[in-house]
Amino acid sequence: MNLTVRDKYDAEPTKKIDLGVTLDEAVSFIIEALEDPLNPRWCGPSVSACMMVIRHHNAPGTIINGNRLFGSTIVAFLTAKRSIATIETLASRWHNCECSHVAINGHCIAAAVHELTEMAPIIMTLSTLPENHQCAFGRFGDKNDVLRAMIELFVEYFEDAMRNVKPSSVANGRHPEIWPATPRDLIPYGVQPQELDFI
């Protein structure tokens, strides 16, 4: 009889942990939270908790194609016009949960998600593993930088969704079921060329 010694913390690779929030709930919560990319509705830890749920299901392409609004929300968040000061403000605001109890209790998904916000630092630790060391130095020293980790995750998701996209298919709108279906999906605010700074 063969015995395999396993680390007691090493979960079964196929076993899915029940986080109390379903994938659809997590996706719709992020879409709702980032509806206004410049002024997110929910706190950073809750968004990161949802990303933790989404990451748990290893199929970024399927998730983005399953809910096209998710891809558009990510792009809108990444490409929204911000200054460094605005980003710093968002980073400090997102560091802790500042959501009101009334708002949380009146929203069934938010209540479940906020149960997970204690676990959000785990994501931060994961995203600052040696393989991500190029940007592992949080802007708040030893604190976890929620915004930075979120941006990293969003960029990874975006790249995964883009990996198999063919430019001609997007230009022709040949596959409306796949995100992005048209160039407009990728450029929600338009290209907005700005004035040359050396004139």
Partner: protein, 315 residues
């Protein structure tokens, strides 16, 4: 939107977000490229960040073997890789747009490319990462040699002091390649450019974002509209009518190999097998090169205004 990605990258102190620009160029080329050319923040960021990561890795603490530690080397390789994505996007742009894009910063960009190559080749980088970064060096060498050949008036580095890797690419570019290889490179480049090939395309900077259709004869050049195609067919200086059939002949035989970067030998072999004359291959290559160098913005370019302003200021 280019500015947004650049600002976010500055905040992150990493070019990971910036590397998305390459994806935008790849998927929405005709819409994105003029915006990148006009905004200019993207190449400026690339140069600034590139020089910074090179200087950071050179000034970092070394281990007893005289190498940087694994984490630093890995971070450097990743960051350089992100910038190489963008450089790759620039190499697929028409030469005249590249000239506009690099106006005023060509010399800095050339310095950055040289510095990146020197840093990768320096003994402080572990061999594993040096090997991993070989394709990146190749890309930066191509980029620097393209800068030197398209904007020689802006590069202040004397030819003798140019890095050997860049110089070898320049020599390779100046040496006439065999006709089949030449046609392969020109056709591949033409198919990667998603710009209207009609001379004097009236569409301002190809900004429409419309579907670009390839010529159904040759299946190599693309046009933004049937009007452009008709005009290009009988254009006085560069009529497509004279070359379409020849290009079709070449494409029908070797078109399948244009999609893969490493299929040049197969393409050449197929041309030999089908006994395609060298003259035809050369004609196709030359026609495509001339056509692609004419691709440019046709609206009053803000870069042209800037150039005039800069010249006036210099007296």
């Amino acid at each position: 939107m280019v500015e947004s990605l650049v600002t976010l990258s500055r905040f992150m102190r990493s070019a990971h977000v910036f590397s998305l620009v390459h994806l935008f160029i790849h998927i929405c080329g005709p819409v994105m490229v003029p915006a990148i050319v006009t905004s200019r923040s993207a190449p400026k960021y690339m140069v600034e960040h590139g020089l910074k990561i090179c200087s950071d890795v050179s000034n970092t603490h070394l281990d007893p073997n005289g190498k940087v530690n694994d984490d630093t080397a890995k971070a450097f390789a990743n960051e350089l890789g992100y910038l190489a994505y963008f450089v790759n996007g620039l190499l697929t742009m028409p030469p005249l747009l590249n000239r506009d894009l690099h106006f005023g910063i060509a010399n800095n960009a050339f310095d950055f490319a040289t510095q990146a190559i020197l840093t990768v080749e320096s003994p402080i980088i572990p061999q594993f990462y040096q090997a991993k970064l070989k394709p990146v060096i190749e890309q930066f060498s191509n980029y620097a040699s393209a800068l030197f050949t398209t904007m020689p008036e802006e590069i202040t580095v004397p030819r003798a002091h140019i890095h050997p890797a860049i110089r070898s690419i320049m020599v390779r570019m100046a040496t006439p390649s065999p006709p089949a290889e030449f046609a392969y490179a020109a056709m591949r480049q033409a198919r990667s450019m998603r710009f209207c090939f009609a001379p004097e395309c009236p569409e301002p900077a190809q900004l429409s974002g419309r579907v670009y259709m390839r010529c159904s004869g040759c299946r190599v050049v693309a046009y933004c509209s049937t009007t452009c195609q008709k005009r290009a067919w009988t254009h006085k200086q560069l009529p497509h009518r004279g070359i379409c059939k020849k290009m079709m002949q070449v494409y029908n035989i070797g078109g399948d190999y244009l999609h893969q970067a490493d299929s040049q030998d197969r393409f050449v072999w197929e041309m030999r097998r089908a006994k395609i004359e060298d003259l035809i291959l050369k004609e196709v290559g030359v026609w495509l090169c001339v056509a692609s160098t004419k691709l440019q913005r046709t609206d009053p370019s803000p870069i042209a205004d800037a150039r005039k302003h800069s010249l006036q200021r210099e007296g």
